[in-house]
């Protein structure tokens, strides 16, 4: 069997937790393949991988000094790690990753290459797939199998549909996996796997030079601390209506005003209010989404809320699949009616 290869996500010399999710997904793929071979449960929907099963998976950790990172991965997962020492690598750039992984991976000849669907993974995975002449399926949120093999689903059309894709048989496939979907499986492994060290020096790659990583102060403490978040999206139509949403929020104690990304992009309100992958990840007792359709990046930032209420004109908006209560109608009229009844 060809191995499943995972590219660990390293930022500022730290392994990002999404790496554990990639490992969980690799175990799921192996379990689904096994079930296919045994002819049992071809649907494989409810399969759970055996946590000790680390065979057939390999993690590549690219860094200037990858040994400590490699040890951490193998001691917490039991999986074999290839420590890819890229001499002089200060920080990630797509050029260096594609060049070095593009040289290394054909030697390993994997069946799958798993990358996180993060700002970093999205930056290099498509180019790497082209370099390797591999199939490429980004933003995967579901893996299952039918009689012909594995199928991957991913959201399309503003999250209102999922597209189910099968890689051409025999093709190596690069998958970028949506964070927060595949449950992480890190802990402490009984038997650590092996570590192989590989050194690569890159001469090219000078067209892109990393300078620094800037940290923007998020100022999202109010959102993080709130028990109730009332969040506004494009459905509120005008900037002036934020005032109404704010009044609605104040009906709840310990509440805060959140917004979806487009409202920050258009300059209606500051970044400190933005909920989602590129803003704040929140998990309040109650999340009220007002005129928010529910992009994947927004949903990922609020899905751990205890209760979710959506107020939206469109009952087919993606948020409705991820809300407990969907109030169908004009958000502004509803809030006016609610405020009057208080």
């Amino acid at each position: 069997m060809k191995p499943i290869l995972i590219i660990a996500e390293v930022i500022e010399n730290i392994i990002r937790p999404v790496t554990w999710e990639l490992i969980a997904a690799a175990r799921m793929i192996i379990a689904l393949n096994d079930k296919g071979l045994n002819g049992k449960d071809p649907d494989g929907k409810n399969s759970r991988a055996d946590k000790n099963d680390s065979q057939g998976i390999q993690v590549i950790v690219p860094a200037n000094d990858p040994m400590a990172l490699a040890e951490k991965i193998t001691s917490s997962t039991g999986i074999d790690v290839l420590a890819l020492k890229i001499k002089g690598l200060v920080s990630y750039t797509s050029q260096v990753y594609i060049e070095s992984l593009g040289r290394l991976i054909p030697e390993i000849n994997p069946s799958h290459i798993l990358v996180a669907n993060t700002s970093q993974g999205r930056d290099f995975a498509p180019g790497l797939a082209v370099r390797l002449k591999a199939a490429s399926i980004p933003g995967v949120t579901g893996i299952r199998r039918d009689n012909e093999g594995l199928l991957y689903s991913r959201p399309v059309l503003d999250n209102t549909r999922n597209m189910v894709i099968r890689p051409r048989p025999g093709c190596v496939v690069v998958l970028t996996l949506m964070p927060g979907v595949f449950l992480s499986s890190a802990g402490k492994a009984e038997h650590p796997g092996s570590i192989t060290i590989k050194e690569i020096s890159i001469d090219s790659g000078s067209e892109v030079v990393h300078k620094e990583i800037l940290k923007k102060h998020r100022g999202d403490q109010a959102l993080k601390a709130a028990q109730v978040i009332v969040a506004a999206g494009r459905g509120i139509q005008e900037k002036e209506n934020l005032e109404l949403i704010s009044r609605f929020a104040k009906c709840f104690s310990n509440s805060a005003l959140g917004v979806s990304r487009p409202l920050v992009d258009t300059g209606w309100i500051g970044y400190a209010h933005q909920v989602g992958i590129t803003g704040a990840n929140v998990a309040p007792r109650l999340y009220i989404a007002c005129g928010i359709s529910g992009s994947s990046q927004h949903l990922a930032g609020m899905k751990d809320s205890d209760w979710v209420v959506s107020i939206n004109r469109n009952p087919e908006a993606p948020i409705c699949c991820h809300a407990d209560l969907c109030i169908v109608g004009d958000v502004l009229s509803f809030i006016h009616a609610f405020l009057e009844s208080e």
Binding site: D123, P138, V156, R161, R168, I213, D265, P318, D324, S341
Partner: protein
């Protein structure tokens, strides 16, 4: 300076996909700066691949100030994997030595974010995705860019042109088409090319579309319709029941 902006139809087919509008505005903003500095050697081309109707987005781009438009007619209607689209774009862009190629971070319909980075790889260009800021130094030919990461981090890079950038939403405020540009747009010619001429042997897709489904629900999603007063009382009952207010 020659800039190519790759654009696509939005969910509303007459409009440019939201993310691509930001990319086009970046190009036009750069053109404005060149012209203000008295540098007239700058041109903004737009390219799109899609059915005949897709030329609507080229006309809209003309209205915003783009100079030339290229329309690629795909071999097959329907699902076109990013690699096939990128190959088409590369076949055209490769012969035109662009200094800068821009596109939106992803399309609104497919939401893949692959066409840009794949095109860069096919053309052998350096690529930076999710760009939220860029400053071009005309003397050095170096562009300082900031790439958006998670958790409020930004990766600051310097990139040597020619290069490809994918543009994140919110980097600028896309302009509306102007009347004078709209009037001039009628005279601008759209160059039409067919995939079957660019690639007599079809580009082989490595991904096969199996089906399109509705997403699974992760919560009850109880629909509350009906008169406002009922909706308000049901909402209040929900809050009481879950002890949320």
């Amino acid at each position: 300076m020659k800039i190519l902006v790759c654009i696509k139809q939005g969910l509303d087919k007459e409009e440019i996909s939201r993310f691509d509008e930001f990319a086009l505005e970046e190009a036009l903003g750069l053109k404005d700066k060149f012209l203000e500095a008295g540098l007239t050697d700058i041109r903004v081309d737009v390219i799109t691949a899609g059915p005949t109707k897709a030329t609507a987005v080229i006309k809209r781009a003309f209205g915003m100030g783009a100079d030339r438009g290229i329309h690629i007619v795909p071999r097959d209607a329907g699902y076109s994997p990013a690699f096939v689209t990128a190959s088409n774009l590369a076949a055209v862009a490769g012969n035109n030595s662009y200094d800068l190629i821009l596109t939106g971070i992803m399309s609104q319909d497919m939401m893949e974010g692959q066409t840009g980075p794949m095109l860069a790889e096919l053309l052998g260009l350096p690529c930076v995705t999710a760009v939220v800021k860029n400053i071009f130094n005309d003397n050095t030919g170096i562009m300082q860019v900031e790439r958006e990461m998670e958790n409020g981090l930004r990766d600051c890079l310097e990139i040597c042109l020619p290069a490809l950038l994918t543009i994140q939403a919110g980097i600028n405020t896309p302009r509306y088409p102007s009347l004078s540009n709209m009037l001039a747009a009628g005279k601008k010619q759209i160059i039409t090319l067919a995939e079957k001429d660019l690639f007599p042997a079809p580009v082989k897709a490595k991904e096969l579309l199996v089906s399109v489904e509705y997403p699974e629900k992760t919560r009850a999603g109880q629909l509350i319709e009906g008169p406002l007063s009922d909706q308000v009382s049901q909402f209040k009952a929900f809050l009481r029941e879950k002890d949320l207010k």
